[in-house]
Symmetry: C2
Subunit: 173 residues, 2 copies
DNA sequence: CGATGCATGTAACGCGTTACATGATTAC
DNA sequence: GTAATCATGTAACGCGTTACATGCATCG
């Protein structure tokens, strides 16, 4: 069900076609929150339109249909946000791998931890750039929530990096 | 495919039946890494046995079958760990919700952020207890990797808590 | 006029959830 | 004896991925 709300969220920001929403997914939600391919997005947009939560507001070249969120769609999205689920279903292969490091000899586990640290550093460097660019344009409307997401990523990666370093420091002992 | 490796990982720690593995899932991997229900676990164990990666080592009351990992199973698990995927597929409803907070009026977003902070605090308190207990039994074999996982959770929750507080502090401004 | 990118769709298959279904053992 | 827990299974459905399939528009 989350895909619907991811799409409604993107459309709440601005109208877009299936093709464009697929790109926006890649550039915004993909990294930390959610991912979906066009083969899933197109049918879901059709269903959302059938349910009246989005509407086609423009048709352009090459059969392009631009969708916009409707008022019922906005209300549906808000309702979803107001009622978080009690049980959180986590499924993160990255973390699973970390948990199963135990099954490797220490030397190999160490290599993987080092890779984890390096990747976290790289992501941190990228995100720091993003935040710097955002802060430079400080004050613009609608920017705040992109900043919120970036800050979240920043802190998650920092935590992972620190953890990997801590693990490496304690592994040899 | 990850379910296979989650099961192999649990069995690498100790043999167990489908029922028992379901419980172990709940108590170990569920929170941060992976979750699965018995209806998925039983058929997967059958398949793993068919592939020779696990074997039935005991049959007890009520049709209970205890499985153990085999040497080919161990090798398969190690190979999986040694070859992390290039593209990481994230799907985290929690984070998606945070990203879409923008669609709510500030006052409501604030309430949700406060709830996020409270939950992170609660989880932190729980985990801190776990770690304290672990450290008390320091030196035991096999404990280190449980400690590794707990430390990871500790740092993730701390990051989330700090982020929520940062967001609240900056939201009103 | 050919390559690239825009734009949409669907069919088959696999993974995951919910619900249904059954029965043995243990503790009170 | 009856309630709780142990213990296993399967069928139907929904979500997600891969692969197949098509054609228009733009740029050079």
């Amino acid at each position: 069900m989350s895909l619907r709300f991811a799409l409604l969220g993107l459309l709440d920001d601005a109208p877009g076609s299936g093709y464009e929403l697929t790109r926006r997914f890649e550039h915004t939600l993909q990294r930390y929150a959610w991912h979906a391919k066009h083969s899933q997005i197109y049918p879901e947009l059709t269903r959302l339109a059938d349910d009246g939560l989005v509407a086609v507001v423009d048709e352009g070249a090459r059969g392009r249909r631009t969708y916009a969120i409707t008022e019922p769609g906005r209300e549906e999205l808000r309702e979803w946000l107001r009622n978080p689920p009690v049980h959180k279903n986590v499924r993160n292969e990255e973390v699973l791998r970390m948990f199963l490091l135990s099954t490797l000899p220490a030397a190999e586990a160490r290599v993987l931890l080092e890779q984890t640290a390096i990747e976290a550093e790289r992501e941190l460097a990228e995100l720091t750039e993003v935040v710097r660019a955002q802060d430079a344009r400080c004050g613009e409307e609608g920017l705040w929530f992109g900043r919120l997401a970036a800050e979240f990523g920043l802190r998650q990666h920092t935590a992972t990096l620190d953890w990997a370093r801590w693990a490496l420091a304690n592994l040899s002992a």
